[in-house]
């Protein structure tokens, strides 16, 4: 198959657009949820204004982590200098797939982190006295739900940097096979992290809520949160395994 460098550029630019476009959807929704709950909380407890404002800002910043990952990947795709003709179809497929992986992979974690932050704001408004404990738990919960986004980022970086150039003189069937398998790797980690990301966010949100209500049971609640989040993450790990197999073993 003839290949000119334009095809690789097309793939890179498409991937960049998909990455930041999809990644921005739920990042926006998540930050919006947090801000909404924060504003509602200020209405309920005007004297806890400072604390609520701080929780809201930190929560929003943490909820946007996955969106920032998507931005980084799309900047790398545009300016990283991957567009050289020796890359071949492998490189084109890998670039498109990197964008897909990070873009879809940012959907779940940001939604989860948004829900968690929203519950934290609600909880702080109810119990301003325990604001620091709630905020600490919110940060840990959001970091847990961003773990799946980190998996997507890792696969995306591997697709950018560890796919070799296409060797000369390959049969067309082989080229097709390898390229499609790279796209499959991006899809599997992207779609596979939506569920765990959102689910862990739900766990963290409930934990924030309950720490506000029953601050005495804090260590027990946090332990259950860790355990539940770790088990919910296992399907994201199966996706990571399949993605590694598709990149390295095919």
């Amino acid at each position: 198959m003839e290949l000119s460098v334009e095809y690789i550029r097309i793939a890179a630019y498409l991937g960049a657009g998909i990455s930041v476009g999809l990644g921005a959807i739920t990042t926006g929704i998540g930050s919006g949820i947090i801000a909404g709950e924060g504003a509602y909380g200020v209405m309920k407890q005007p004297q806890a204004n400072d604390q609520l404002f701080r929780t809201m800002l930190i929560g929003q910043a943490a909820a946007q982590t996955a969106g920032i990952f998507a931005l980084v990947i799309s900047m790398l795709l545009i300016y990283g200098g991957f567009d050289i003709a020796e890359g071949g179809w492998y490189r084109a497929a890998a670039l498109l797939s990197a964008g897909l992986a990070m873009g879809i992979g940012a959907l779940g974690p940001s939604l989860g982190a948004g829900y968690s932050g929203g519950e934290a704001c609600k909880s702080v408004a109810r119990m301003p006295k325990h604001g620091n404990a709630i905020m600490g738990n919110m940060l840990i919960g959001q970091a847990l739900s961003q773990t799946s986004a980190i998996f997507a980022l890792v696969v995306s970086l591997l697709l950018l940097y560890s796919v070799p150039n296409q060797p000369a003189g390959l049969a067309i069937g082989k080229i097709l096979l390898k390229s499609i398998s790279l796209i499959g790797a991006g899809m599997v980690i992207g779609i596979g992290t939506i569920g765990p990301g959102a689910g862990i966010g739900y766990v963290a949100g409930k934990a924030n809520d309950m720490i506000g209500r029953f601050p005495k049971e804090r260590s027990m609640i946090m332990r259950t949160m860790f355990l539940g989040a770790a088990v919910s993450e296992s399907t994201a790990i199966y996706s990571l395994v399949v993605a590694f197999l598709l990149i390295f073993a095919v």
Binding site: Y79, G80, I140, A143, L153, V154, L158, P164, I237
Partner: protein, 303 residues
């Protein structure tokens, strides 16, 4: 009265200072970052080009394959003689990945033994700071064991504490910025071995508690459990999920640190990223691994 700084804060600040200095000295100035225009396009990357990075990532992943393909002589930090000795035993060049892994495992073991002796030598009535830390770890985990397994199974505590300390120190040892240092848990064989061991211990305990047939009929008796085949697959997937969770998190951190450091020329970010992935993620993953092992045992013996 001036407020005293807490010792943890002191350690934290000291760590950041030392790490920054070491990172600067080791690779700060020998990489050049190119920000600007190249053939009419805006670029930011290392002048040595990202194929350097690509080589390094292949090296991280398939180190034996890397040296077999390129035919270079492997770079061994430290003594070459031990590697020669090791190679003579196994008889091939491709043993370098195993060699590095074994060396790091040895270092972790020596660190743990050293800590143990150091603390044992100075056991005090009014405990010192490290003693408080380790007593806290031990008593917390012991409390968890009692809550999950009951008072009569408290003899599981040493296993659980050893598991936690080993994984914890292994995850943190990669933060030391010495060339050739890596987390042993970054190699799939270590988490997989730990995971297989955990599931084996779960079943051995279940055999002891419920008797051979009492346990095996969950998996072999189609009348009692019609989905027994899926349960066997489920047991295997326990090994996969518990070990790949640790492996994926540690390896992910390593790859992100590698790529980001090469983009920003090894200057600013790696310290913060090391703190996040080494201390925060490393501690959480060690805790999660131990708690999962504990609850697997608890679920199996309590039915």
């Amino acid at each position: 009265m001036a407020k005293k700084k807490s010792p943890i804060l002191k350690i934290f600040i000291l760590f950041i200072l030392i790490e920054t200095a070491l990172v600067f000295v080791s690779n700060g100035f020998n990489k050049e970052l190119q920000v600007g225009f190249d053939e009419g396009k805006f670029v930011f990357r290392n002048i040595q080009s990202h194929y350097d990075l690509q080589d390094r990532i292949t090296e991280e992943f398939q180190i034996d394959e890397h040296y077999r393909q390129t035919g270079e002589t492997p770079v061994i930090y430290g003594s070459n003689k031990t590697y020669e000795f090791f190679k003579n035993i196994f008889g091939k060049v491709s043993a370098i990945g195993t060699f590095q892994l074994l060396r790091m495992l040895l270092i972790v073991d020596i660190m743990l033994l050293f800590l143990a002796f150091l603390i044992k030598k100075k056991l005090l009535k009014r405990p010192s700071q490290p003693q408080i830390l380790f007593e806290m770890i031990y008593s917390t985990l012991e409390q968890f064991v009692i809550e999950t397994l009951g008072k009569d199974k408290v003899n599981f505590t040493p296993y659980i504490v050893t598991l936690f300390l080993f994984i914890w120190v292994s995850n943190m040892v990669g933060m030391i910025p010495i060339p050739g240092f890596m987390e042993p848990t970054r190699n799939l064989n270590v988490p997989l071995g730990l995971g297989v061991f955990v599931v084996a211990i779960v079943h051995i305990t279940a055999f002891k508690v419920k008797g051979a047939w009492g346990h095996l009929q969950n998996y072999l008796n189609p009348v009692k459990n019609p989905l027994f085949l899926l349960d066997i697959i489920g047991e295997l997937s326990k090994v996969v999920s518990i070990s790949f969770r640790l492996f994926g998190n540690v390896l992910g951190g390593a790859i992100i640190i590698l790529v980001v450091s090469s983009l920003v020329s090894y200057v600013v970010f790696p310290v913060g990223l090391n703190l996040f992935f080494g201390m925060f993620v490393g501690t959480i993953q060690a805790f999660v691994f131990t708690m999962l092992a504990l609850t697997y045992i608890g679920v199996e013996i309590s039915e």
